[in-house]
Homo-oligomer: 625 residues x 2
């Protein structure tokens, strides 16, 4: 009965991935590709978004033959309910991550930890001033305390708007106010989304969709932005540096520890512990040449951006990294960690270590990681990995390639620094058409799509058209492995981009961080709009998530659109069962917020659509096309 | 292709319902029963809880042939994810309702409304003192302001526990602390539940279930309790009074306005407007004898408890009330309002009026109800109804019965008042076995179950065994229509209950309020446990929701169990696809929190199981069985 997965060449564009999928099959280890084959075809109702399980009068399925659920909800209501909760799930993930950073700041302020500190005092003072905190002549801990209280309050019920709306152009804020979309508090919008989608509450699909947008805005300009900014404050604001990517970053002669998840709080400590001479000595006693930390997914992005730690892979590489047989430990925090990693770890000597009480894994080794005891716990974890080195079966080790070089660390601060302290040169480059526009390519892999085929193709097509590309999350590794994250990649770019990036010595595709760091892109757009005294929707910019899979990607896409950014998805969310919701998403929102989603699986066409949009926006701004 | 619904006699135990279902069929109007027939059989995967739609690698369905989703999640993880979100939906509904009451209190404190005021100052001072607010010698508005801030903060991220945990026995709080189940903030627990159930977060079903319990506790001892207490403060604490119930409360010669939903904020104003001489005169000008306000569902319970307003019906009567053809307007706030009511209103002259921005209905007449303009808006709505009276088609009017009498208004304050200012007589009656124990019967109707057959039967069986019954929500109307909510019902009770209730002149089944008012039952249990210096789980008490359908009922059931109360459900939630989750719910929780769920469709057996439990608990307390 087992259904066959696709041939390996159809699953991924990468040689390292192909080699490991082949090895997994030879060793009889199941991966995401086998499970997808097994789960295909999917339930049509669930795919269309027309299943409702929100009460026990059902579950219900809406179709032409059954146009209403037991309560009377039609397809529009059911699809909107489901999409609303989907976005709430994504917003909750990002934002609860942001809250964890505030808690670390609290531990610093309260003197409860010696393991974390304020690394970037200047940034803390700057963002505190932005959100209205008095900073002049005050001690850093006093400012930090006020910032902590301010950001905690952004999750509460007492604000009319979250703090970082101070960054948003007034024209945009007026649109949100008019539509009732101003995000008040992160948790509040999430809880209200859950309330609205209870049976017998919001039964008007467009109204539900507006609140979904509000919820996503509380993530983008709230929880995510707090996550990014406080991570910079606590771990340092990224500056450009060189690193490497692909499975080749795993080292045969070292104790390999992979960090996976999204939050730097654990992984920064693991890294610090792994750099301690005593632990390196212990590794050498075990016969290893040292300790090697490499990243996966967004935790990898966090360490890559700030510490230049190499990136082993993105979403669809997480299982395959373990198949190398050379990983002593995979240390996870939360989000996007396939539960199958526990089983795959069990096929090798690999220790699967989970560190968050809110993300435990049956069969994992659990550490209840706390700021007060972080370094001590990190040392214990690294020691576990070191001990594991002796258990490695050398005969099963296969590291399939050499790493490729990548450039990383493009925070807005770094960009502005490189431009001489102001955005003016960027504005000028956009104005004169050297940089015709910018598109953020973000998000995930999805095993339904040939891995990274779209992520890479779209970036290549856009830079040819002199459109600057900013990448975050799993697209980072894709672009990096494709050679797009190095200064030499200007050879693949159009003449304008080649000139500008060449003169600055930067790639035409810039690594902007992890998925929460899409807030950096929002901030850049807001700053550009403010500099030009226009709305974000007037800018020649776009966003894309070609291979997305996660609820967080839906939240990101929606806050981008609601912020006025034309946004591409490589495949639709599960909304096609409602014409009302689908039409709203792909056209109706244009009139409301000045941007829409567009769904397109062909990346050449997608690049053309961005090109057309950028032309139109440039024209409206009085610029050359 | 249309599937036939069951014969009318199998759908409900009530004559008024049968008459209206018959009329609906004659008039070709679809009700919940036709839609249930159409939706039956339900999707087995969704019923078992083994469908996952939390990312677009899926949707996935878990079964023996497909034991893992694309990410690797097994049935345990998927069921726990779904149940966690189900409970989050219910908790969010109740608690967002609670927040709305805080916002009304804020409007009072800030002087932004003249339409609402603090009706029960003594209660406000009492609850403020309970949560640690200084009240001595302070002005009521100062106390109110502090209470408002305190309760808003219960939704935030800055507390270690929600305020009303001050009411919980220390032994219970110790259990929660040990299990990591202490509810910190209402919205926070909801958002964290959404985060945990994102792909790649919590992949340990028992861990997810513990957080579901924590989330529900933040509802029961947080959002719901705040909702109840502030409703009493603003609208008055209920005291016993007589009223009536069933469709006979709709009056042929009057302008009939039904209020439906859960929150008294709108309906109290509608009632006040309908009592204004000017509007009554306008109704008379239209040829009506006056204006008649009657309640449905929990908004009905709120008005019944405090104002003695008659109850037209519970969940499955909401559609049928409109079928009388005599309803000029149905005014709704939120929750459990079947979207079909818009269509059914459209089959008559009935105006469907929605009043909450978070619960709009496509096709409804919308009022954005605000504290500042509440009375004015209420008058407009009542006038709409008055005008509609002229449009009524007398030939289609059929009010099928005469109302039955009910006694209502049993707040804890009223009970203690009736007992002479202390719980001691109740403790004494329990100790000597006149009252052997108490069971709260709460929740809904579900069209899968013959309407109110279980709700009534269980109450009858329990009082025979000298077990006091407390009813809330939709069970109120069931018990009332069955004649159990009048003092004479002691004739159906056992000798002990007959003696005690007889001497006090109260029914053996007490109306304790709306669904959020299950917090009153929690409070009573805590007070009894504190009086006896035992844990809540040591008390001879239980809870039941025989005919539940809503996510809120799942939240209520879970906070009852987590509070130590043995809890019956007439049918299971969608968890049977996981043995781990099911076993935890029906047995494993006993060791953790001292109580479990039990699932039993037979009400005689259910009463026996409660009887056995109460015997055991009495024995352990050293009391006669």
């Amino acid at each position: 009965m087992a259904k066959e997965p696709k041939p390996i060449d159809d699953l991924t564009i990468w040689d390292d991935a192909k080699a490991m999928i082949k090895k997994a099959r030879e060793e009889g280890i199941e991966t995401v590709h086998e499970r997808l084959a097994q789960q295909t075809p999917h339930c049509k109702f669930c795919e269309l978004g027309t299943t409702c399980r929100n009460c026990t009068m059902g579950p219900c399925r809406i179709s032409k033959k059954m146009p209403r659920g037991v309560c009377g909800a039609d397809a529009d209501v059911v699809v909107a309910r489901n999409f609303g909760r989907f976005v709430a799930g994504g917003s909750a993930g990002h934002s609860d991550h942001g809250r964890d950073l505030i808690e670390v700041l609290e531990a610093i302020v309260e003197g409860e930890t010696k393991d974390y500190s304020i690394k970037d005092e200047e940034k803390l003072i700057r963002i505190a001033a932005e959100v209205g905190i008095e900073t002049e002549g005050r001690g850093i801990m006093d400012v930090a305390r006020d910032a902590m209280e301010c950001f905690f309050a952004d999750f509460g019920s007492r604000k009319k708007e979250v703090s970082f709306l101070a960054r948003v152009p007034q024209k945009r804020k007026d649109i949100w106010a008019k539509l009732g979309m101003t995000p008040r508090g992160v948790d509040r919008e999430i809880a209200e989304m859950m309330h609205r989608t209870h049976m017998g509450c919001d039964n008007d699909a467009p109204n539900t969709m507006l609140h979904a947008a509000r919820t996503s805005l509380s993530d983008g300009w709230g929880g995510s932005m707090i996550g990014t900014e406080l991570s910079d404050v606590i771990f340092g604001t990224p500056t450009p540096s060189m690193s490497t990517a692909n499975l080749g970053v795993i080292k045969e002669d070292k104790v390999n520890i992979l960090v996976h998840g999204h939050n730097p709080v654990v992984s920064e400590m693991i890294l610090a512990a792994a750099r301690e001479p005593e632990l390196i000595a212990e590794a050498k006693e075990q016969g290893a040449a040292g300790i090697n930390i490499a990243g996966l997914c967004c935790t990898g992005n966090e360490l890559l951006m700030r510490q230049g730690i190499p990136m082993a892979g993105n979403h669809l590489m997480t299982e395959l990294a373990l198949i190398t047989g050379a990983v002593e430990a995979i240390v996870v925090d939360y989000q996007c960690i396939m539960p199958s990693l526990v089983q795959i770890s069990g096929c090798y000597h690999t220790k699967f270590i989970d560190t968050a009480n809110k993300a435990r894994f049956t069969g994992g080794i659990h550490y209840d990681f706390k700021p007060a005891t972080a370094m001590e716990q990190a040392r214990e974890i690294v020691r576990l990995a070191i001990k594991g080195y002796a258990e490695r079966d050398a005969g099963r080790v296969d590291i399939p390639c050499e790493p490729v070089e990548i450039m990383t660390g493009f925070s807005n601060e770094a960009i502005i620094g490189a431009l001489g302290g102001t955005l003016d040169p960027l504005v000028q480059a956009i104005a004169n058409g050297d940089i015709r526009g910018a598109v953020g390519i973000v998000g995930c892999n999805n095993p339904k799509i040939k891995q990274d085929s779209m992520n890479v193709k779209l970036a290549e097509e856009l830079i040819k058209k002199d459109i600057l590309v900013l990448v975050t999350g799993c697209v980072t590794t894709a672009a990096g492995k494709a050679g797009l994250l190095v200064p030499d990649a200007i050879e693949k770019a159009g003449p304008g981009l080649k000139k500008i990036c060449g003169s600055l010595g930067i790639p035409p595709v810039l690594h902007y961080g992890s998925c929460v760091d899409n807030s950096r892109i929002l901030q850049l757009c807001a700053a550009l709009a403010n500099a030009l005294d226009v709305d974000i929707s007037d800018l020649p910019v776009g966003a894309s998530s070609p291979e997305w899979y996660s609820e967080k990607a839906a939240a990101i896409g929606l806050y981008a659109v609601a912020s006025g950014i034309y946004t591409h998805l490589g495949h639709p969310p599960n909304i096609l069962g409602s014409e009302t919701v689908t039409n709203l998403a792909v056209s109706g929102l244009e009139d409301l917020v000045g941007a829409t989603f567009f769904i397109e699986p062909d990346m050449v066409k997608t690049a053309e659509m961005f090109d057309d949009r950028i032309k139109a926006k440039r024209k409206a701004l009085g610029l050359s096309e």
